[in-house]
Each structure stands twice: as C-alpha cells, then as structure tokens.
C-alpha cells in the first residue's frame, strides 16, 4: 500500500510547454481594472439565471413526444400572422478591444440593441453593448465576473457584476452611465421591459424595480418558499420566475400570482424552470421530479422537456423539436433553442429553421447558440464558435 505521500508522487510537477505568463500584460491589465473599478460592497452569493438555465440544459434524457406549437391565442402588441423565414445567414459582430471571445446574451425586441460580454486577453470578463454594428465596453464596477443580461428598445441595459468575493450587484446602464440598482446589499438584475421596469433577485427573493432609480419591491410568494427569482418581465408588467428552482411561477399585472401547469405524463411529478417571457409567451424546461434522495442533475436524469406556456390562458405546450432548451421567445411565440440533433434552431410556428455556424460544428452540439430573437423573427443574436474554437458574438438574419 503506497503511503499518502507516494500516492500523489507520480504527478507531473513541471508544465511541459514554455511559459506564456506575461508580466507587462499583467501590469497593463491591472492598471485598466483599477481605472474602471468602483466602490466596494459586501453581501451574499446568489444564483444566476444563466446557471439555472444551464442546470436545465445540461441534463441528458430520452426524447419526449412531439407536440406541435400552437399559434398565438391572445396578444397585446401587433403580432399579426407573419410568414416563417425560409433560411438564415450568419454575421459576426465586432469584439471590442481585441478580446479573444465574446457572446450576445440579450437583446431588445426590435433587434437593434444587443448585450453580453467579452473575455479580454488579460482574463476576466467585460460587459459589452452592441448598437448599429458597433461594440462598446460597459464599465461595470468590480473586476470579477460580470454580464449584461437584457436591454430594452431605448437602449437601457441591465445586468450584474461581482463587486466582492461572493457579492453580485445589480446594475443598469443608461445614457452612457452605469448606476447600481438601489435597495439591495447584493443581488442581480435579469430583465428590463419597454417602460424601464426591471426584475431580478437578491439571492433569496424575487424583486421588481419599477424604475432604475426606485427601490425594489419583493414579489409575493407562497408560504414555505425558500428561494425564488424573477427572470423576465413583459411590456404589460407580467413577471415570470421560478420558486425553489422547481416551480414555474407567474405574477400578473392585476396583482394575482400562481404556479404554471407542468406536464403530468404517466402520473409522474414534474419540476419546471422559467427563463424568458414575451407578449404572454413564456419558455422554460421541465423535468421529472426524482426521489427524495436524488438532487440536482441526478434528480433530473429522467425526462427533460422544453416547454412553452401561454401565461394568459395557462396553456402549456411540450416543444418536441428542441433538446431541453429554451433560449429565447418572441411576441409571436416563435422560439430558439438547440435541435434534437444539436445545432441552433429557430422554431417559427411549425417550421424548424437551422442556423448556420461560423465554422463546422464538428461533434459539438452546442457550438452555436441563439440567445435572442426579435419580435419579427428576422434578427437573432447569440454565439458561434469560430474555426479556432473561440466563442464569437453573432447575429443571424432570417429571410
């Protein structure tokens, strides 16, 4: 029996390639960080929507039965019958400051503003906004992880940045200025609507800021709820979110709130998570609830479905065309996601349109992701791996 010391001894102790550590680069990166660094705060860690989304999407499962998508039932905005595009082309967006990679995470419904982040050469993260084909770095305070999540038609963007070891803070970017959202000692902002209302969380409670300068209101949750987040807000003020990472929930403009329906196949219990909302259409995922002992990924090793809800009628549709993904939804109820065989897809009513990548995807089912979808279904934002395997921010134009 080898001793504890001998056990690890065979490990290589020397890197085999020459050092790429660059001291002048460290100095210049540090100077830049110092220049954009803001005040420091304290608080607690929280769960990000991105991580939740991933939790749902990472899970592997057998394919569910196919149910065709239904046309819009009721609408408040002009979502008249639009013909599905025949095909889409890809356009690479500029990456600011020569960063090696970047991605588009959110967009306004008209497809004019896009937000996300880049991965600067010096390491770390940099929030970015794109408008008219120009990329601009948004200096969120903090030199740790950051992301702009969403932007509205006026170009007001929201997101979060870690300003301390485990402290995310919600921020809004408006008229060239970054402001911290008031009323929380830690938290995140995930979405903003046409009127500038913002939703997010403080690590435990779902929050609604009625404007970028107003203090937040806690959205009501049923007794016994441990943690809840609000993930998106519609132009009419409807908010969606998830309770305890398993109950899809909606807060309606009339002040009522309730859980959304989940699949009830074979009498099995399901759990669901909501990600995006537009014009009454909400998208998310649902998985079979496991036994008491199982948790997390294990718990969800059963069936995982992509789901679309009409939050006004309560109608629920299993989206069989997608592989457990709900990346975006528009005013017509069209969706983007990852197809059953991999690759980014647009689902426009019953039409499934493939979105080409910058480079052949090879074996990577997730090389291309369509994270945003305009109301007219013509402009999609997201990310695509280039030939060197670097994530690039892209738009797809569909005709």
């Amino acid at each position: 029996m080898p001793s504890d010391f001998d056990l690890l001894r065979p490990l290589d102790t020397e890197p085999s390639s020459p050092s790429t550590v660059d001291i002048p680069l460290a100095i210049s990166a540090a100077r830049r960080k110092r220049a954009i660094r803001g005040a420091t705060y304290t608080g607690a860690v929280t769960l990000t929507v991105a991580a939740v989304t991933v939790g749902g999407l990472m899970i592997r499962s057998p394919g569910p039965a196919t149910t065709p998508a239904q046309p819009a039932a009721t609408t408040t905005t002009t979502a008249t019958a639009v013909k599905a595009p025949a095909s889409c082309t890809i356009e690479r967006l500029p990456v600011p400051d020569g960063a090696r990679a970047a991605l588009v995470f959110g967009a306004d419904p008209t497809g004019k503003f896009f937000v996300g982040r880049s991965y600067p050469k010096a390491g770390g993260y940099q929030a970015v906004i794109w408008h008219n084909g120009v990329a601009e770095e948004v200096p969120l305070p903090g030199d740790e992880e950051e992301l702009l999540h969403d932007v509205n038609t006026s170009g007001t963007a929201v997101g979060w940045s870690y300003i301390g070891e485990n402290t995310p803070m919600p921020f809004v970017f408006r008229d060239g200025k970054v402001t911290q959202l008031p009323g929380v000692s830690s938290g995140s902002a995930y979405a903003i609507n046409r009127d500038g209302k913002i939703v997010g969380d403080d690590g435990a409670h779902p929050l609604l800021w009625s404007s970028p300068s107003a203090g937040p209101t806690q959205l009501p949750v049923p007794a016994g709820t441990q943690t809840a987040i609000a993930t998106d807000i519609d132009d009419d003020g409807t908010v969606i979110g998830t309770l305890d990472n398993k109950v899809p929930y909606v807060w309606l403009p009339d002040g009522t709130h309730h859980a959304l329906r989940l699949p009830d196949t074979d009498g099995k219990r399901f759990e669901g998570r909501l990600f995006h909302l537009r014009n009454g259409w909400a998208v998310g995922v649902a998985n079979e609830a496991g036994g008491k002992s199982a948790s997390g990924e294990k718990k969800a090793q059963g069936k995982v479905e992509a789901i679309r809800w009409n939050v006004r009628t309560g109608e629920m549709t299993v989206v069989g065309q997608f592989d457990k993904s709900a990346d975006a939804v528009n005013a017509m109820g069209w969706q983007t996601g990852v197809g059953k065989q991999g690759g980014a897809k647009l689902l426009a009513d019953e039409h499934l349109i493939a979105l080409p990548g910058l480079a052949p995807a090879g074996g990577d089912r997730l090389a291309d992701l369509a994270n945003t979808l305009s109301d007219d279904g013509r402009t999609i934002g997201g990310q695509s791996d280039d030939a060197n395997d670097n994530i690039q921010p892209v738009l797809w134009h569909c005709e």
């Binding site: 550590v21 001291i23 460290a26 100095i27 990472m58 090389a367 791996d385 994530i391």
Partner: protein, 167 residues
C-alpha cells in the same frame, strides 16, 4: 504605482513565475489553464502590491491568491454560460492504457477542487494542516475531512477499493 515599487514587483514576479507555474500546473493539470491562473494571480497582485509587499510571508500570500482562484468555482462559471460545451464529468479512467502520472492526474481531476487543492498543498508542498486551512480560508477540521475524503476517493479511483473503506 510609483516606479520604485513597480520595479520591486517586476523583480519579485519574474523570480516567482516558475514556482507559481509549478503550483498552478499541479492544481490545474493543464499548461494553458496553469498559465491563465498565474496571469490572473500576478494581475491581481499588481493591484494589491502595496499591501502585499508589506506582508510578512509574501510567498504564502501569493500562493493563497493562486489557490483560491483555482478553487473558486464561480470564476469558471463563464464556462457554463458558454454553455456546457464540455461535459462536467472528466472522462472515465483507463488505467491499463496510460502512464501512472496520467492515471493519477485523471483521478485527482475527479475530486472536488477544494479536495484537490488540499491534497496538493499537503502532500506536494508538505504544508501543515493549519497553513492549508489559512490558505483556503477554512477550518483545520475541514482540511482534515477534505484530506481523508480526497485520499479515500483517490485510492478507490486508483483501484484500491479495499483500502478506501478503511480510511
């Protein structure tokens, strides 16, 4: 930073890069990730140089920065947003097909990051429990439990099932 202390910083870092790369490589098991860790560490060090250079044990201070960067899973969460292109589980072990070092490396990579860091610091750097605890910002008791759990798992993964149960 004034010229004098910048010069000190450059001298210190230049001298320490080889040692930091070794530590980063032991932890990360990958040249590129190791260099990323070192780059990240020395960038932060520049920002904190005035305070750090006054530290009684500067090497330990810098080592702590690097180890904490490694164990801090959240720093890697961009990889999740980038959307789980690589499965989170490392590939299964194939002891017969590869050299010892690769087997041990693969086994180590299957442990939680904190356990990896504890094992490397204790058994490669011969650091005492309390110093590992200070480096990771946890209690000595936690270091001990990480050590025993990490070793047990490692022995099991390396094909010593009968021993795993006794630890």
């Amino acid at each position: 930073m004034r010229d004098g202390s910048e010069k000190e910083y450059i001298e210190y870092v230049s001298a320490r890069v080889p040692a930091l790369r070794r530590l980063a490589f032991l932890l990360a098991g990958d040249d590129h990730r190791a260099d990323d860790l070192v780059q990240q560490t020395i960038t932060t060090l520049f920002l904190k140089w005035r305070r750090a250079s006054a530290a009684e044990h500067l090497d330990a201070y810098v080592r702590t920065m690097l180890v904490r960067s490694f164990v801090d899973e959240r720093r890697l969460s961009w990889a999740k947003v980038r959307l789980f292109r690589h499965a989170p589980e490392p590939p299964p072990l194939e002891p017969s097909a590869v050299e010892d070092r690769l087997v041990v490396r693969a086994a180590l990579a299957r442990l939680p990051r904190r356990q990896q860091a504890v094992l490397v610091l204790r058994f490669f750097y011969d650091l005492p429990v309390d110093e590992v605890a200070a480096t990771l910002g946890c209690t000595s008791g936690t270091v001990k439990s990480h050590t025993s759990r990490g070793l047990a798992t490692l022995r099991r993964l390396l094909g010593e099932p009968e021993l795993a149960a006794t630890i």
